[in-house]
């Protein structure tokens, strides 16, 4: 990346951050206007008060919990796309991840948190196995990436509820153990931070680790550069003697595994697998794609965007506890609306130039 490019990039990032705040304010403003149905001045003063009562430590903690699966899927997706493969099957891999975690936990014993952890590990391994098949199809057999990705989603939507029905006699699983919260004695007493940081799901911390690690790996290691080169300039990478397709296999398998982990985390944070309708994943894989577009292919940016979606998602429950009259059905649509607003504002992202093209080395 030349100096000029990075300058431009930095400027974009500044615009992005301002935009992020504006989008959040606009979303809150619209919600406020709808909810209170009073003149704007009053909304502003009342609004600030309400804002304080909405953004409680519990709300922030729950938003992070909600953001974790989206973040994981997003990081996987951005790695694949950085290397030149558009993994549009994230939603499908998340569905498989959630289901594999549920089934594994169920068969391992379903007794406690240990079983939930075992379920998560098995789930990641199995989704990575599926991702291997997907990668072979995309890279070896040059399948159309968009169509095959959609196919993964449909297979998830069909086969997962089928298998759930075979196992449990219903598309939903019975109650399963989660991983619980990690509470640090003493520190968890600190106001606000205590609940957000020291009384939090360990999976949220795992997600933070993954996000930071993914950032360091992508921008500070040799292999990270190879990944970027595979997407930006595969010919150069090939000339340098690195197997482009091998790098792409690695990222696609990694992206499938991370999306699977995202699904497993989603399951561990809820009480059972839900296979009706769009399944419990319910569009979070798609939100993941938008999160990394919005975060401009930067793992930390993607995590921030996911947190925004998580926060919007949790507003619903927050309104209910505050007895604010609003249809939960309509409020539940807010994340999808935010996605459209965000995409409209940030449709142009730095797409790696060789995304979607199968690479064939001239031998």
């Amino acid at each position: 990346m030349s100096g000029l490019d990075s300058l431009e990039y930095a400027r974009h990032r500044g615009v992005r951050l301002v935009g992020l705040v504006l989008v959040m304010l606009a979303a809150l403003g619209v919600v406020g206007a709808v909810v209170f149905d009073v003149p704007l001045a009053e909304v502003l003063s009342d609004g600030l008060e309400t804002l304080a009562s909405i953004v409680t430590p519990g709300y922030v903690a729950r938003s992070m919990e909600m953001a974790a699966p989206i973040t994981l899927a997003a990081i996987g997706g951005l790695y694949a796309e950085k290397s030149g493969v558009f993994n549009i099957g994230l939603e499908g891999f998340m569905i498989f991840g959630a289901f594999f975690a549920a089934a594994a936990t169920y068969f391992v014993g379903a007794g406690g948190a240990v079983h939930a952890w075992v379920g998560i590990v098995i789930s990641v391994l199995l989704t990575m196995g599926l991702a291997v098949l997907f990668a072979v199809l995309l890279i070896r057999y040059k399948a159309d990436q968009i169509v095959a990705g959609l196919g993964v989603w449909f297979i998830g939507l069909g086969l997962v509820p089928f298998t759930a029905a075979v196992i449990w006699g219903s598309r939903n699983s019975p109650r399963l153990p989660g991983v619980g919260r990690l509470t640090v004695p003493g520190l968890s007493e600190i106001p606000f931070l205590g609940r957000v940081v020291f009384d939090q799901s360990p999976l949220v911390w795992l997600t933070v680790l993954v996000a930071v690690g993914a950032w360091v790996f992508l921008y500070r290691t040799q292999y990270g550069y190879w990944i970027q080169a595979a997407g930006e300039n595969p010919e150069a990478l090939d000339t340098a003697g690195i197997d482009v397709n091998r790098v792409r296999y690695a990222t696609v398998i990694f992206s499938g595994g991370l999306a699977g982990l995202g699904g497993a985390v989603l399951l561990a944070h809820s009480s059972s697998f839900i296979g009706t309708g769009q399944t419990m994943v319910d569009g979070r894989g798609w939100l993941g794609i938008v999160a990394y577009l919005f975060g401009n292919y930067n793992p930390l940016g993607a995590a921030a965007a996911a947190l925004l979606f998580g926060g919007v998602d949790m507003l619903q429950g927050q309104f209910q506890t505050l007895n604010i009259e609003a249809s939960s059905k309509l409020l539940g649509l807010l994340p999808y609306v935010v996605v459209i607003v965000v995409l409209t504002g940030w449709g142009k992202t730095q797409v790696p130039s060789s995304v979607g093209e199968p690479y064939e080395s001239e031998e």
């Binding site: 199809l137 159309d144 089928f162 569009g283 309509l330 539940g332 649509l333 459209i340 449709g347």
Partner: protein, 377 residues
């Protein structure tokens, strides 16, 4: 294929379209057949692995699609919906735009159709004449509703460069949520415990001619075939259709020859959405006679993607592909009633069909290895 245009999904669309266009009709047909056969074989293996009898399942699959007059009517009814939604998808894909939002456009179109008929019925005479008038109003309203809902992501793509794959999927979720809310609250039928609108008047509906009262009318099928013919002609023989297809296959050339790319995108999405709306009009008028909880409507709009891909995005090819999907889904109703194999398997098979359709190379290599074809590509 030009590699000059590198704008992500758009150029990807160019490549898909290019590849599909390059393939000969015969080759496409072979790949489509191979995809479907392989997917069904995998389905049978899954059935066996889950502990059911695969032979019985295969038998149920065939009997459930063609077994009796009543079943055949159901297959044809479902095929009608798959053909119409499949054509809606094909219009967009052919023009290089990914409209994954047909389900949402279907839901919005169906709501427009139902509400327009319910609201205008008191002002029109009852009986056959009024019925035909109301059906025309409902059909136009459905096309307008679906068209507008399709135009929205088109405008966002053309003028704000928002990726239409994601926006249309989000708009599906939004359409289902909002319409579901409308049917739960202001538009719910009085005294009904179900989430649904009032029934359409009795005189609104298509008379069953060959098959008994089965929610299927030959008139609906004939109108569908007529629409497919109109779309096929419009895509190949008219100026706007020509512009759409050239924009899809050769964006650069289209712009150079004076086609307004942005307006073509919006027009394509509007056209595609309008056809999705028409599909819904047939669904409401011929079959449901009211509008129901949109989350419980079968995902015609999503399956339509598979239908269109199987047909190589050719409006005429959508006919056999739509019939196949009608048969598969008809079987799934049969299997639900007469067998204990969970019906979601059919959706899974549809997904597997899509994956295989995406990878023609797989079958080419398989064919080469098996010594078939012989044409070295």
């Amino acid at each position: 294929m030009s590699s000059a245009d590198q704008s992500g999904p758009r150029s990807m669309a160019d490549r898909v379209a290019g590849r599909l266009l390059q393939a000969t009709v015969l080759e496409r047909l072979g790949i489509a057949l191979a995809s479907v056969t392989t997917a069904i074989l995998i389905g049978l293996v899954i059935v066996a692995a889950a502990g059911y009898n695969p032979i019985l399942f295969l038998n149920n699959l065939i009997v459930g699609a063609l077994g009796s007059e009543r079943i055949l009517a159901r297959t044809l009814r479902l095929s009608t919906f798959f053909i119409l939604t499949g054509v809606a998808v094909a219009i967009a894909f052919r023009a290089g735009v990914f409209n994954i939002g047909v389900q949402g456009q279907f839901v919005v179109g169906g709501l427009f159709c139902t509400v327009s008929i319910l609201w205008t019925a008191p002002f029109l005479p009852t009986g056959t004449v009024g019925g035909i008038g109301l059906m025309l109003i409902g059909t136009v309203a459905a096309a307008v509703g679906g068209g507008l809902y399709g135009a929205l992501p088109g405008v966002l793509k053309a003028y704000a460069d928002a990726n239409e794959i994601i926006t249309t999927i989000m708009l599906n979720f939004i359409a289902i949520g909002v319409v579901s809310w409308l049917l739960t609250n202001p538009l719910r039928a009085e005294g009904s415990t179900n989430v649904q609108t009032e029934r359409l008047p009795d005189y609104v509906g298509l008379p069953p001619i060959v098959f008994g009262d089965s929610g299927f009318s030959v008139i609906g099928l004939v109108l569908t075939l007529a629409l497919v013919a109109v779309v096929a002609i419009a895509m190949t023989r008219t100026g706007i259709g020509y512009d759409m297809v050239t924009s899809g296959y050769q964006a650069g050339a289209a712009v150079y020859s004076g086609v307004d790319a942005k307006r073509t995108i919006v027009a394509t999405m509007t056209f595609s959405g309008a056809v999705a709306g028409l599909a819904s009009a047939v669904y409401v008028i011929m079959f449901q006679g009211r509008f129901i909880e949109p989350a419980s409507i079968h995902t015609y709009g999503y399956d339509a993607i598979a239908v269109s891909l199987l047909a190589a995005n050719n409006p005429l090819g959508v006919l056999p592909a739509g019939l196949l999907f009608g048969g598969l889904n008809s079987s799934s109703s049969y299997i639900q009633t007469y067998s204990d194999v969970p019906v979601q398997l059919i959706d899974g098979i549809v997904g597997i069909v899509i994956v295989f359709v995406a990878a023609p190379e797989l079958f080419r290599m398989a064919a080469k290895r098996a010594g078939l074809g012989g044409d070295d590509r």
